[in-house]
Symmetry: C2
Subunit: 192 residues, 2 copies
DNA sequence: AACAATACGGAACTATCATTCCGTTTGTCA
DNA sequence: TGACAAACGGAATGATAGTTCCGTATTGTT
């Protein structure tokens, strides 16, 4: 945002360093205390003052949004890599999905966003989101062409189903096993 | 709670009336403003003071818990009724599930609890929860005996999967269609 | 080395809510 | 009808947490 197409001046060295620290600390903090983590806590972990956090991220939501955006990009990378892989298309799709869900399982901020609790967060991850859907669409098309995936599956179904799995993840009930949930979902997408 | 096995004195008439009003208002309020509804708002809708709300429900969580408990009982009733119905056991199970999810779709408080956001809420619905699982278990056993349901489905899978569908419900993304999500889930439980 | 321009720190501000408290009112029973 | 317990109302309280402000420190440039 600060360095868009017309970047005015390069960012000062300390500012750049602090920005990275804040992002890392925020990820740790959200992982440890969940989405109700306080901005003060993020600042403390990063070894900076709250004011500094706010210079880099105007609101808590924008900070969360950046965390989500980065993870979505990792998901997109995975999915792109899957498109270059050989193998039975449905299996390739399923593996990519497993990997992406695994990423979500390791990131509390992403789970939070997936559950839809923070609507505004998505505004910061919008582009990455659209791109992931587009890539997923290609994987799906191949599997359907191979006849191993249900014809009526749409790329938009995937984030919907992933949200469900994320709901399972963030539950504390001991008998909720998100990996099992995921496998059931994958089964339901296979052609009969 | 106030009238357990050893009820001491009958409840005063106005107290009984107010309790009902509060519950109804709470349901409306949660439906309208989501889980972050304020206690003051519930009181206003019920036409009573906040103090009165607190005499009946010691905490916000306990109020939410009561709403959830009531709905869980309706789900249990549905499930019991299904056990008395004739028909192909898997279809009977699926219909009961559809009905129960429909109940959840009409109640914001229940969705909130399902998403696991309010851990404490379940303490108030504990018994109803266990009962529902027990009844579901019977429906499942029949369908498995008939060979129309996957052998590895457990009664505990159902609330897990329902949580996922609830996550879909409470999302605002327009392309999230919880009914579709539910049908995919049901398909995944059928025997191949 | 001196001077802007940037960036930083963290105390203070503010808004939001759940919850409490206590003076007043209402229902019940004799 | 009178008396007492049970309930009520709603202003006040207290705690939490996001955000702002401004005096100070750091960086990069001439």
């Amino acid at each position: 945002m600060s360095h868009s197409v017309e970047s005015e001046r390069p960012q000062r060295a300390d500012a750049k360093r602090n920005r990275e620290r804040i992002i890392e600390s925020a990820r740790d903090a959200f992982a440890a205390h969940g989405p109700e983590t306080q901005m003060d806590e993020v600042a403390r972990l990063a070894g900076v003052g709250v004011g500094t956090v706010y210079r880099h991220f105007p609101t808590k939501e924008s900070l969360l949004g950046e965390l989500v955006r980065q993870k979505m990009e990792r998901m997109s990378d995975n999915t792109r890599a899957a498109l270059d892989r050989d193998g039975e298309p449905f299996a390739v799709f399923a593996d990519a999905l497993r990997q992406n869900v695994e990423i979500a399982s390791a990131d509390a901020a992403l789970q939070y966003a997936m559950l839809g609790a923070g609507e505004g967060v998505w505004e910061f991850a919008g582009v990455a989101d659209a791109q992931l859907i587009e890539l997923t669409d290609q994987l799906i098309a191949r599997a359907q062409a191979a006849g191993t995936m249900r014809r009526d599956v749409s790329a938009l179904d995937i984030p919907m189903l992933m949200c469900g799995v994320c709901a399972t993840m963030s539950h504390t009930k001991p008998y909720f096993d998100w990996r099992r949930h995921l496998e059931l979902i994958i089964d339901s997408l296979a052609a009969r």
